[in-house]
């Protein structure tokens, strides 16, 4: 094991995740969907990294690679000094004690035939984290209390809970084996507006109390701004801009980031009247057949012929601000 435990909690280096596209009865491979293509970043312990981008940009795949739901095609994922990109599947179980996931859909992600207590406690059994029944029961009660649910509700089934409560069950399940790192995949986008704030506050509170590190995958830029320390913008499998939250939101450099930010409406008519809006043309290209060069150039209003020549590398513009654009 390397001795890099002090500064980097998680480091992703040149991560690639390609899904083969097959055709015919022989399942001949005809191409790749490059869901995540050469992505690198670092997360410090106790911080939150936000990943934003449109659907299909590879943000969920990236999260799943880190959880080792997928075995990445290439690259390294160095978690607490150990490369987990290629560890065998029996080691993955051990990893999952440290790295957990909160799902998007609180309806689809809870087994309707399992009661809330056993959903939350299942991981304790799998990882043999409680020595006896009493310890198990106490731990489940603690977890319920930690996420603001009444431990008495452990016998109820998912359909008896509201959307916000279900998401709390999902969070309790993720916390059950004391992980240090949690991937939150769109944790609030399926919830009602009035409930979203409860879950955001809970996530922040748990982070402070338990010293958790988050990878927050979301498409709501105002939520990402609210809780992230660093933000990465993804487009067609590439990170196109990455920097601290303040820098990203006050000084976005990549045209795509500018367009994303201008597309978020602000609930204030007087502010809205004065805002400049950038409306992108067309749709996100198919990842099966990505454009040559910069993936964003067909929709970019600043594109020049050179943009279609080669994929621009992420380069540092100012300390801590990396952009993949040749026009910056």
């Amino acid at each position: 094991m390397e001795s890099s435990k002090n500064n980097n909690f998680l480091e992703v280096k040149n991560l690639k995740m390609y899904f083969p596209v097959t055709r015919g009865i022989l399942r001949r491979k005809v191409g790749d969907v490059k869901a995540v293509d050469d992505v690198s970043f670092k997360i410090k312990q106790g911080e939150t990294m936000g990943i934003v981008g449109e659907s299909g940009c590879g943000k969920t795949t990236l999260g799943r690679c880190i959880l080792r739901v997928y075995r990445p095609t290439a690259g390294q994922i160095i978690f607490k000094g150990q490369d987990i990109a290629d560890i065998p599947s029996d080691k993955v179980l051990e990893l999952r004690r440290e790295v957990q996931l909160i799902f998007q859909d609180p309806y689809g992600s809870l087994n309707p035939r399992q009661n809330a207590g056993s959903i939350v406690g299942e991981a304790l059994k799998i990882h043999r984290l409680s020595r006896n029944k009493e310890e198990y029961r106490n731990r489940v009660s603690d977890l319920f209390a930690m996420v603001g649910l009444d431990p008495e509700m452990a016998n109820r089934y998912p359909h008896e809970f509201s959307g916000g409560q279900r998401q709390r069950i999902g969070i309790a399940r993720a916390l059950s084996c004391n992980p240090s790192f949690i991937v939150c995949d769109e944790p609030i986008s399926a919830l009602d507006v009035s409930i979203q704030a409860q879950i955001i506050n809970l996530l922040q509170e748990l982070q402070q109390k338990l010293g958790l590190t988050y990878l927050l995958i979301a498409h709501d830029l105002s939520v990402v701004r609210h809780i992230s320390d660093t933000v990465a913008v993804m487009y067609l499998g590439h990170i196109v801009e990455i920097t601290g939250w303040e820098e990203l939101y006050t000084n976005p450099l990549m045209p795509y980031t500018k367009a994303l930010l201008s597309a978020v409406p602000i609930p204030d008519p007087s502010v809205e009247k004065k805002r400049e809006r950038i409306i992108l043309k067309g749709d996100v290209p198919s990842p099966l057949n990505p454009p040559s060069g910069c993936p964003f150039h067909p929709r970019c209003w600043m594109a020049i012929p050179d943009c279609s020549k080669e994929v621009p590398p992420l380069r540092q513009i100012s300390p801590g601000h990396m952009v993949a654009c040749i026009r910056v």
């Binding site: 597309a263 008519p269 809205e272």
Partner: protein, 332 residues
């Protein structure tokens, strides 16, 4: 000038095993000519149902429109039966609707062209060739590239944003006086949402119609609506111009909604204020304020009765006993 659409005391109920749900409980609102109106609320507050009821798209059973008037161009639409010729002549031609999920509201076994031309040939009495030509023009106007080719595509060959644009083309195809957009961009990405909304607004300007945007996204209505109605538990709890509602909100629910969402332009570090509890069950609602159990000002409220909508400004109405001022809400 009388308003284009005036809804008075509309009530819609649904029969369920557990009892009768008062989904819309006596709402009154109006929409003027060439006006963009926002209707905001959480899921289950009756915002979609109220809009479906105005053009009688509520299926009976289980739904019933139990009262009220929907006055459109001087006639009460609720006097006509849902399947009458009069209603058919209005739906799609004079009042049209853009639905939330373009994948489920488009028929997967017909081409996009078939579905647009159906409305056109029915209402505008054009022959097949002319109707198709008109459909292609419409698709071009809403920004579908290669419209002449894409018209023969099936819905699954369109992306989410394109489907919603096809829905817009369909909705404006017969130059309706009123378009109702029910959560038009909820299923879409933020950049696509911006595209679709801009297309929708451009079409509205072009054909000079009125638009109702039904949404839970406060930002969307702030950007486009001139007037706003806020709904809660089947009722309108606040109504006013966009400036009134956003800059001087008077109902605790509106204030709470505004405080519960993070804003892109606010200083960071503000603690979000969630709204505790859940929306009430709409079966057997007690005759008290529906927001009472979740209201942060309930302690100050001494009255046990159900408040009426009362006027607090020129065009500003609020359903609350307390005289809340926007300043005290702390968001200004």
């Amino acid at each position: 000038m009388p308003p284009l659409l005036e809804v008075k005391n509309l009530k819609v109920t649904f029969d369920t095993m557990a009892g009768t749900v008062k989904a819309v409980d006596g709402i009154s609102y109006h929409i003027d000519e060439e006006e963009v109106v926002g209707l905001v609320g959480e899921s289950g507050c009756g915002k979609s149902v109220s809009q479906m009821a105005t053009i009688q798209l509520i299926s009976t059973p289980p739904g019933h429109i139990t009262g009220g008037e929907v006055i459109f161009e001087g006639q009460d639409l609720l006097k006509y039966k849902a399947d009458s010729n009069q209603m058919r002549a209005i739906r799609g031609a004079k009042i049209s609707m853009i639905f939330q999920e373009p994948m489920t509201s488009l028929n997967p076994v017909f081409t996009i062209g078939d579905q647009i031309t159906e409305t056109i040939s029915l209402h505008l009495k054009l022959n097949h060739q002319d109707a198709k030509q008109r459909a292609i023009e419409l698709l071009e106007q809403v920004g579908i590239p290669d419209a002449a080719m894409r018209i023969d595509n099936y819905p699954h060959q369109f992306s989410g944003g394109m489907r919603q644009r096809a829905m817009i083309a369909m909705a404006v195809s017969c130059h309706p006086k009123l378009v109702i957009a029910d959560e038009p961009t909820t299923a879409l990405d933020v950049t696509t949402q911006a595209q679709v909304l801009e297309v929708m607004m451009a079409m509205v300007k072009k054909i000079h119609n009125s638009l109702v945007i039904v949404t839970h996204n406060l930002g969307v209505v702030a950007r486009y609506a001139q007037r706003i109605y806020v709904m809660y538990a089947g009722r309108i709890v606040e109504a006013g111009t966009s400036d009134d509602v956003f800059n001087n909100p008077r109902h605790p629910y509106t204030i709470a909604l505004l405080k519960s969402v993070p804003r892109l332009d606010e200083p960071r570090g503000r603690q979000l204020v969630p709204i505790f509890g859940l929306p009430p069950n709409l079966i057997d609602m007690p005759p008290v304020c529906a927001f009472r159990t979740r209201c942060s000002l309930a302690g100050q409220c001494k009255k046990e009765t159900d408040p009426d909508l009362r006027q607090v400004g020129d065009n500003h109405f609020v359903r609350c006993h307390i005289d809340t001022k926007g300043e005290s809400s702390g968001i200004l």
